[in-house]
């Protein structure tokens, strides 16, 4: 059975169900459970659910300690940028302990953080900074694009024995979607084909999946059949599905809300060039954020972000099809 649930409620449901299932799951962070009628507090008690001070280093460091001691903490961090305050704990502590001990300890924890809040939140609360974490051996990175995946990836993250950065996209917070009731697990490292097509492969994550699907609909009007792939996790990254698609289409457009050199797009482009060069019939196109801090003012914010016209223009530039009047008038950067 499934029913409509907003993206953020699907995440909460996964945490709640995992806490019911496994007593070792803890949930703590800033500004949660501050009143006795908080639903997590009522259900699981003050040992397992706690509000913390605004102390990211303590929150994440303590999560590491609790994980070393056998628990599975989920840290509520609200915004991905807040993890930067505790970068050492995220990058140089949590993913190192298991390795440096030769596998004698494990650090199962989830860092839950929103990202990409490009809705006028200006320069410090809008970043798509997952690229800072994807190159760190020992860390896993999940980027759900739908409510069902939000639930299923969170449940998988909590059961994973490694530290996981779970980045939920703020622009999707209230997006409704079908979400299975009961246990729902989405495996890490399995991309999903959101739309099948033959002429060009478009890979996108998070809120960019919706933009890529909208672009694919428009491209169909120009006679271009686009396949849209959502990797769902960047670590592990399902290159096999992407390569299989590129083998079929011969063309690749990568859509990423991060600035180019900090994007997953750059990594996927390099892997396809390395492993799938012979499949390519045209250059790989990357539609990423332009290299600027996210500006406050709407026209400027829109200008730097990937959008449907930029995706369409990039696809058309390598498929040789003529643009439909009014669609994708100007090629984006890299097109």
């Amino acid at each position: 059975m499934s029913r409509q649930l907003p993206y953020i409620a699907a995440i909460d449901e996964a945490i709640r169900q995992e806490m019911e299932r496994d007593e070792s799951v803890l949930y703590f962070g800033q500004n949660i459970a501050t009143t006795p009628d908080d639903e997590f507090l009522k259900a699981f008690g003050a040992d397992r659910v706690r509000v913390t001070p605004i102390s990211e280093t303590a929150e994440i460091g303590m999560a590491i300690g609790a994980a070393l001691a056998g628990y599975r903490p989920v840290v509520e961090l609200y915004m991905a940028e807040f993890m930067l305050v505790a970068m050492d704990q995220v990058v140089n502590e949590a993913p190192r302990f298991r390795y440096m001990s030769g596998g004698r300890v494990s650090v199962p924890l989830v860092l839950k953080a929103g990202y990409g809040f490009t809705a006028g939140w200006a320069g410090q609360h809008t970043g798509s900074i997952y690229g800072m974490f994807t190159g760190v051996p020992g860390l896993k990175v999940a980027l759900p694009a739908t409510p069902a995946d939000a639930k299923g990836l969170m449940a998988t993250a909590i059961r994973d024995d490694n530290p996981v950065c779970f980045f939920h996209h703020y622009l999707l917070t209230l997006e409704p979607g079908e979400v299975p009731e009961g246990e729902h697990l989405v495996p890490f490292g399995q991309a999903v084909v959101r739309r099948a097509g033959d002429d060009v492969t478009i890979v996108a994550t998070g809120a960019m999946v919706g933009r890529a699907l909208a672009a694919a609909s428009s491209l169909a009007g120009s006679g271009v059949s686009a396949e849209v792939i959502d990797p769902r996790t960047l670590v592990p990254l399902d290159m096999a599905t992407i390569l299989e698609s590129v083998a079929k289409t011969g063309r690749l457009v990568l859509v990423d809300q991060a600035t180019r050199h900090a994007s997953a797009s750059a990594v996927i482009a390099a892997e396809v060039a390395d492993q799938g060069f012979s499949y390519l019939r045209a250059p790989i196109r990357q539609v990423t954020a332009l290299d600027a801090t996210v500006p406050y003012s709407k026209p400027m914010e829109d200008y730097i972000l990937p959008d449907e016209p930029k995706i369409i223009a990039a696809a058309l530039s390598i498929t040789g099809a003529a643009p439909e009047p009014g669609a994708g008038a100007e090629p984006g950067e890299g097109a």
Binding site: T52, P53, S55, L68, R98, M100, S101, P137
Partner: protein
């Protein structure tokens, strides 16, 4: 030498002296390896000479068994703790030599020893960052509710990290069962504590930092294992009964330089002098510290109190030398891990 599982309420002076000797001798063997077997130890090694009494006195206050034992986290200067907790010196030396039989399979080396079965959950090589981690272990102990206490070791430099302030605030707020042992050796790398610590510059002990977090803070002579034991045991007992954390400042003097041996390939072996001598031109300070070596003090005390006679003390030292020589022999004879083992343990 395994530690006795239950040492009772009074610390055994001979047991303490033996542990102090074991730490010193183990590290003397580490140091000697650089000259006797060049290239066998790589990178950076930090010795704890001068801290033996503090380490031993602190750990003597723990309950290792029966039941779920107390737990410990420490820093990159980490050889002493697992030795006292009962880790095998052969496996420890093999780890420092990068061998497959090492305590951590050669993945961690000198700075990252861990032995979770003995309550030693690991170390951070980044100053201060282990403090919130140990605090999280204490949070886990509180939830588990089986009376475990956590000892968190760090140095004076770490007490200026944000991690220290953040963690002590939460520990006090949540009344976590943890004792913070601040080993104040007066130097953070090559900077004197008065140059970088407001309390020290004002002539106050570092233990006053505890006041900011509404927890008790005490300062003890870290050269006397019994003094350290008494302070830590009282803090452990407070923590175990739900009274919350304590900050114990243990005043020690490290008898070697910060990083004892730095030997990058192609560079002649270099044993730096202690910063008091090499940087601050204060050899008298260093010589005074050497005269107050905790091992010398402990031996004199045991002889003066008639606990041991000179022959018994010498034979104890000889036993320990033999134990650590065997550790070197074992480690030297141990094979290296296969190169492709490097890709194991990245993920669970």
């Amino acid at each position: 030498m395994e530690p006795e599982p239950d040492r009772g309420p009074e610390p055994d002076l001979v047991w303490m002296y033996r542990q102090m000797l074991r730490i010193r001798e183990f590290e003397e063997r580490v140091k000697a390896t650089f000259t006797e077997h060049p290239g066998v130890i790589r990178g950076h090694t930090h010795l704890a000479d001068g801290a033996e009494a503090s380490i031993t006195g602190s750990l003597a206050a723990l309950r290792l068994s029966p039941g779920p034992g107390d737990q410990v986290m420490a820093t990159y200067r980490c050889h002493g703790y697992p030795l006292v907790l009962g880790s095998d010196p052969k496996a420890m030396m093999a780890e420092i030599y990068g061998r497959a039989a090492g305590l951590c399979g050669g993945y961690g080396g000198s700075m990252h020893l861990a032995d979770p079965e003995r309550g030693f959950l690991g170390t951070s090589g980044i100053v201060g960052q282990g403090i919130p981690q140990a605090t999280g272990v204490a949070y886990a102990a509180q939830i588990r509710g089986q009376g475990q206490v956590v000892l968190c070791f760090f140095g004076d430099g770490a007490a200026k990290q944000g991690a220290f302030a953040e963690a002590l605030n939460v520990a006090s707020l949540w009344k976590l069962p943890i004792v913070y042992v601040l080993e104040n050796n007066s130097y953070n790398v090559v900077t004197r504590v008065e140059q970088e610590d407001a309390n020290a510059a004002a002539g106050e002990p570092l233990a006053v930092k505890a006041r900011a977090f509404s927890m008790p803070g005490v300062t003890v002579d870290g050269g006397d294992p019994v003094c350290v034991y008494e302070a830590v045991a009282s803090a452990v007992s407070r923590a175990r009964s739900g009274g919350g954390p304590t900050l114990v400042e243990s005043k020690i003097y490290r008898l070697s330089a910060h990083g004892n041996i730095i030997a990058p390939p192609g560079v002649p072996l270099h044993f730096p002098e202690h910063e008091a001598v090499a940087v601050f031109g204060a050899p008298e300070e260093y010589e005074a510290a050497r005269r107050a070596d905790p091992l010398v003090r402990m031996r004199e005390r045991l002889l003066a109190e008639g606990v041991l006679d000179a022959a018994a003390a010498d034979s104890l030292a000889a036993e320990v030398r033999e134990e650590m020589a065997a550790a070197v022999e074992f480690a030297l004879a141990s094979p290296y891990p296969p190169a492709d083992a490097a890709l194991r343990h990245v993920y669970a």
